[in-house]
Amino acid sequence: MSLISPPLTQLQTARLSLRAPQPEDEQDIMAFYMSPRSKHVGGPYDRVGAWHRAAGFFGHWALRGHGKLISVERATGARVGTVGVGRPEGWPERDLNWTIWSDAYEGRGYAFEATKALRDAVAKLYGWTGLVSYIEADNARSIKLAERLGAVLDPQAPPPDPYPCLVYRHPKSEEPQ
């Protein structure tokens, strides 16, 4: 069953398949948002709150035509996390975001690989470059990844209400990356 249609629902990288969420992903998405690993993205939530976030994945696609992709390890089919472009109403800018769902998939460069691929794809498809990533100040791993991706702190850019966070700005696509 597919709830979500193109244009940007499928990307391949060397090791990952990035694809739009499917109903079968619901429990894994919820498990992440109930786990301590979601502490930098609003969690951990109770079951109802986690379900709200999971359903929101689908509604974001329905309302915006883009959203979070599930990062799937091609070799095993395991869901390892997400990568996406988020634009809730009222947020100052589109947010290039990523998650890795378990410690087992940390440290392999998967978030880098997924985010780089999506950043290139949305630049090509939509002309979106110089995107921001909203990152909590104590999220050291994500800050390190943003910097590896060539993003720099943009102290002038406002964070989305009501989240105090740092704003990292990715390079424009014509700049060397």
Binding site: G56, G59, H60, L63
Partner: protein, 170 residues
């Protein structure tokens, strides 16, 4: 997609163009009894959740619209996030919708009829804050009976139970 007509209303699934009215509601004081008022981004996220509810479950809250003008007036219908013990029926009117004319009752009654006859549900509850007198009155007019034993999301919530033959009261 399900479409329900009543004397004055049409109930239909939400469309992308409803998002402004929905976001406006959840960001407003009128949403005080349903978790609001929310910051704009969170209100939008909640609207995305409502759309996702329809996509994942195949049912969800309907948009209440004026049958003649098509204007959106509120929402009503089933709400079953996650694995709550049982589904709920919800209702709300937007700030600009006419009040005191029974529109919420007319919409909610049609939604309940659909749940019982269309989806063949045997029972549905609503969770209401004890200080939300207008909703308590509406739950009773719709035939809801307080269920002191039902599980509830917040310990202070009242639970009203609706069943196919509980029958609306004028």
């Amino acid at each position: 997609m399900t479409r329900i007509e009543t004397e004055r209303l049409v109930l239909r699934a939400p469309l992308a163009e409803d998002s402004a009215a929905l976001v406006g509601f959840f960001a407003s004081e009128r949403a005080a009894f349903v978790g609001g008022p929310l910051a704009l981004g969170l209100a939008w996220r909640h609207v995305a959740t409502i759309c996702g509810h329809w996509m994942l479950k195949g049912f969800g809250p309907f948009i209440l619209t004026d049958r003649h003008t098509g204007e959106s007036l509120g929402l009503t219908g089933p709400w079953a996030p996650g694995d709550r013990p049982e589904p709920e029926v919800v209702w709300a009117l937007w700030d600009h919708a006419p009040k005191g004319q029974g529109l919420a009752q007319e919409g909610a009654q049609a939604a309940l009829d659909h749940l019982f006859t269309g989806l063949r549900w045997e029972s549905v509850v609503c969770y209401i804050d004890p200080s939300n007198a207008p909703s308590i009155a509406l739950a009773r007019r719709l035939g809801g009976v307080e269920d002191p034993h039902a599980a509830r999301p917040a310990p202070t919530d009242l639970v009203f139970r609706h069943a196919p033959n509980s029958g609306a009261r004028p």
